[in-house]
Every structure is written in structure tokens, then in C-alpha cells.
């Protein structure tokens, strides 16, 4: 298997659609009137960049054997509905032990001025 620590992916810009953010809020039992839910970062940050890792043939992540083991979001602020944000994903570490591969995938999301909004850290475990 390929170890691809340090690999970075092209920036992805995403507009926070107000209706989708409201539907997301309802699905988690939050009040859509309170604005974009913090964990909408699953969409605008992790969700825009993780597919780049999963479709990277050199990274060779077997999606069928993948487990999302841990997730962390750190927010500088939360985006507003309608705002365009830009995310950049990278493989922070890629190690194997006891037949398991551990991929730490980090994403930095910034606003139109380049100011930080969110950092996502996902730990994926891939069984061999």
C-alpha cells in the first residue's frame, strides 16, 4: 500500500447553500434559525476535500474497508449562509501497524479574504 503522508490536494471552493444548511440543521435536531450548524463543516470542509483522498489512486484508500474513527473540528468562526469558503486538504500522517492503516487527513477552510474558518482533522482506519 502507498504511504502518502504530506500529500496535498487542490483548493475547493464551496458556497454554503442556505436551504441545505437549514435541512442539515433539521436533520440533527438544531434550530435552522440559529444559523449554519457548526458541524455543517462535515459538508463544507471535510465533505469537499475527503473525496479527493478517496479518489486518489496513488493514495489507494480502500473505501469499502474504511472506518471513520475520530473527527475533530476547530473553528475560528462559523460561516454565514450564502458565504463562499475555500478548503485545502492534506494527508497529515499515514502509518500502518498490525495490519491496519491509519490516515490522518486535515483540512483548512478559509473565507474569501483567506482568514481561517475551520480546521478539520479526520482519522481514517483502513482494515487490510
Amino acid at each position: 500500500m502507498a504511504a502518502v503522508a504530506g500529500r496535498t490536494y487542490p483548493a475547493v471552493t464551496f458556497e454554503v447553500d442556505p436551504e441545505r444548511a437549514a435541512a442539515f440543521a433539521r436533520a440533527i435536531g438544531a434550530d435552522p434559525a440559529e444559523g449554519v450548524p457548526p458541524t455543517f463543516a462535515a459538508v463544507y470542509s471535510l465533505g469537499t476535500t475527503a473525496p479527493q483522498l478517496f479518489t486518489d489512486e496513488e493514495a489507494a484508500v480502500d473505501f469499502a474497508r474504511l472506518l471513520h474513527a475520530e473527527q475533530e473540528f476547530e473553528w475560528s468562526r462559523h460561516p454565514r449562509a450564502g458565504e463562499a469558503v475555500t478548503s485545502r486538504g492534506r494527508v497529515a500522517s499515514d502509518t500502518s501497524r498490525r495490519g491496519m492503516r491509519f490516515v490522518s487527513f486535515e483540512t483548512d477552510t478559509t473565507d474569501a479574504e483567506g482568514a481561517p474558518i475551520c480546521r478539520s482533522r479526520a482519522l481514517f482506519v483502513i482494515r487490510s
Partner: protein, 120 residues
Amino acid sequence: MSQRAVTFTREQIAAYAEASGDRNPIHLDDGFARSVGLPGVIAHGMLQMGVAATVAADAAGGSDRLRRLSVRFAGMVVPGDTVTFSAEPAGEGKLEIRAINQRGEPVLTKSTAEYQLRGG
């Protein structure tokens, strides 16, 4: 302490799949889920994290104050499971998050949050 008990349903899981864009069939199709060794469809870990965030937001005094949320996905949640989420103060601006199912098993572990204090 903020607390919320949620009984997960197929409808909620499907609504989350639609809104999040994560339409992995393990969350939507029982036949597919069984074919990969699951008991049937399971809730998204990120749906559990989303509910945990609402409880953390209550404890923090508003979702706009949340600055960090970290979880470890420790157990499967299937439709019909009732999970009690709680957020408990753990120092200034810090919360400890728990999510326990109806059998007393944790589904999220090592889960913590931080928030911006009032006037901060």
C-alpha cells in the same frame, strides 16, 4: 449539564444523508449494509457528532460560541437505538461530551468541546 435523548430513525438517517451529501448505501440500504457485514443500515457517525454538537451548543450558550469539538466513534447506532447525549462542564470554556445508548454502551468516547466565554 445539557442532555438530550434521541431515538434514531431511518427517516432521520435518510434526511441527514440527503442534507450532508453522504449517501453511502450503508446508511440507506439494508441489503447492501448486510452484504458488508453490518446488521442493517447504521446512522452516520457525523450525524451522531451533529447531535452531540447541539448539546454542546446548549451548554455553551449558543452554537456560534463553539470553537472545538472532538469525538471518537466507538459504537454503531442503528434505527431504533436511543442515545442520550450530554455535555458537562470540564473547566472554564470546556465540556466533556458523552453519548450512551439504551444498553449503557458509549457510542462516542474521548469526546470534548471548547467554547468562547461570554464577552470573550
